[in-house]
Symmetry: C2
Subunit: 168 residues, 2 copies
Amino acid sequence: MSLRHAVLGLLASHPATGYELTQKFDSSLSHAWHASHSQIYPELGRLAESGFVEVVGEGARGSRTFAITDGGRAELSRWMVEVEPTRTVRNETAVRWFLLFLLPPEEQRVVLERELAHTAAEEAMLRELDTVIVEGGGSPFHPTVTLGLRTLPVMRAWLQEQLDALDG
Amino acid sequence: MSLRHAVLGLLASHPATGYELTQKFDSSLSHAWHASHSQIYPELGRLAESGFVEVVGEGARGSRTFAITDGGRAELSRWMVEVEPTRTVRNETAVRWFLLFLLPPEEQRVVLERELAHTAAEEAMLRELDTVIVEGGGSPFHPTVTLGLRTLPVMRAWLQEQLDALDG
DNA sequence: GATCGACATGTCAACTTCGACATGTCGAAG
DNA sequence: CTTCGACATGTCGAAGTTGACATGTCGATC
């Protein structure tokens, strides 16, 4: 279960409310792991019970800000360094790209154009995020943005090539 | 649920037994979707009930070979072209890379070296698969292998840079 | 003819995830 | 003063996934 350590990791970077964590799962972490608020709130409760996070403040509308504890930091390190990674992946887009060439050419074209547009949009979003981070003085997550900005053009070029091959 | 369409897609490429499909999920499809035999056999049953696949032969040890039907092919096309893709991803390795820079440098180094070794091994495996496919006269899945052979070196270079940055 | 590893299928309880429902607050704009 | 959208948390049944248990066959090697 990576959810537990993903939440712990986000809190290791900065204290946050469940709501803010949900937003981070929707934005920065969305390319690695998906989770909705209905998973995040119970998980925060379990992490608190384990002593890995604690409530450090209460704000408007009943919001509670959680922070990682020393025990939580130790657990995060232990998991990152000592626990053998689970290499299983679940990525519907990758399944679709994999199966694409079983379709008739005209259907391939429709899918390729949709994927090309989506990839270009992702790239634009990442470029914007990159600017925000650089101008904001950096972030421990910046290297991952750099990686995305290198892999997305490779994917976009590949999609374009496949599209060109349909015509050629 | 992509499992259904991943199984359907594999059968669209070639008839297969549940056992063979399990092997394909462990090898070629492993970078896109993970599933074990305990999911695949019941799914084959459900696909047969829906009329998307059918048993086309029985072999040794009670094995049954399934093939896609015309209805199955239509369903695969419908899903690929008309159903809006779910863009959610679940990738523990990506979570680990994302959280890496929250760790102390010495722990980063350990993780980076492990990931570098794993990425190099993946690359070697894909190169071998590429050779097998090219010598075997091609495959509808070959373009995806090409994509992997382009993205993996980008990732490997990135990992190496992060490692170099720890020393420099 | 015994053993062993790959082939082959199946079930099931525990756990994780999804999507809908539910409830309420706060600030801004009309 | 009402309305509306963002903020904020929570539960729960249904669906999907995992990992262990279970069972048996076939071919090759000793």
